[in-house]
């Protein structure tokens, strides 16, 4: 419904989007940037990007993931700038956890085809149980704290940490199998 308003270039689409998804997007932005004001800016930029990209995109069947992806991208870019000022945060901690997936985590940019990586990540996610998949994504997509994941899924924090460690190991195996891990 809301996507139709974007396609019709009806500006009320943005207010409907804010009403329906604003809270979730703000929560995501806050988890990534760890700052409410920055998160609000990211969400406002999300609405603008959504307006500019629909059309040609038509995310009717997956509108929230479409918006969340934009918010996440904007928020991570902001974190990258903050990281340049040497401020440690959740972003750095999570990046260090995922460094375990690589034999040597260097900063040199390697050219890896996004399609190949996308297929490998999706193959990994399909291969694990739904609950473990959700836990993995809550940590590395939504940037949830261990305590939040523990409360959400009803596991102890130590159990969540050990599950994530095993999942990172499985991801590493998948990346090696698909010839991505360097």
């Amino acid at each position: 419904m809301i996507v139709k308003l974007y396609l019709q270039r009806d500006e009320s689409a943005i207010s409907y989007t804010a009403d329906k998804y604003g809270g979730r997007l703000l929560s995501l932005g806050r988890h990534i940037t760890e700052n409410v004001q920055t998160a609000e800016e990211c969400v406002n930029d999300t609405y603008l990007q959504a307006w500019n990209s629909i059309p040609p995109n038509d995310p009717s069947t997956y509108f929230y993931p479409f918006l969340a992806r934009i918010t996440r991208h904007i928020a991570l870019n902001r974190c990258e700038k903050e990281n340049a000022k040497k401020r440690r945060g959740q972003y750095v901690d999570l990046a260090e956890e995922l460094d375990e997936c690589f034999a040597s985590s260097d900063n040199t940019e390697s050219v890896i085809d996004d399609m190949v990586l996308k297929e490998s990540l999706n193959r990994f996610l399909v291969s694990i149980e739904e609950e473990k998949r959700n836990i993995f994504l809550r940590r590395y997509w939504f940037f949830d704290d261990i305590s939040e994941i523990s409360a959400r899924f009803g596991y102890s924090e130590s159990k969540v940490k050990s599950m994530l460690m095993r999942l990172r190991g499985k991801l590493r195996e998948q990346l090696i199998k698909d010839g991505i891990e360097i």
Partner: protein, 104 residues
Amino acid sequence: MNGKTLLAKMELIAPEFIEAADKPRKKKPIKWQYPTALAACLAVSVFSGIMMAVSPDEESVIAAASPDAASLFSEGGVMLILFAASILAALAIAALLIKDKGEK
């Protein structure tokens, strides 16, 4: 590639996974069997403990009032076994309850 790049590239995953991970979770109902069994064991242990604690003077009073009740008090060994068994059962159920809460 490093962790930072992978963290950014996570946006490539299928949208249905993102949708599923953000769905509110239903709270699992507490199994009623464990607390009920625990309460029953504790009730038995309290009852048998009281029975064992009854003094000889009280026993004779009870025996005068009700000969059937007196036979229970003469079987102090049975009460002791019942008391010990119910305590052990309560501890076992409590351990299962804690383990169940820890896993799920």
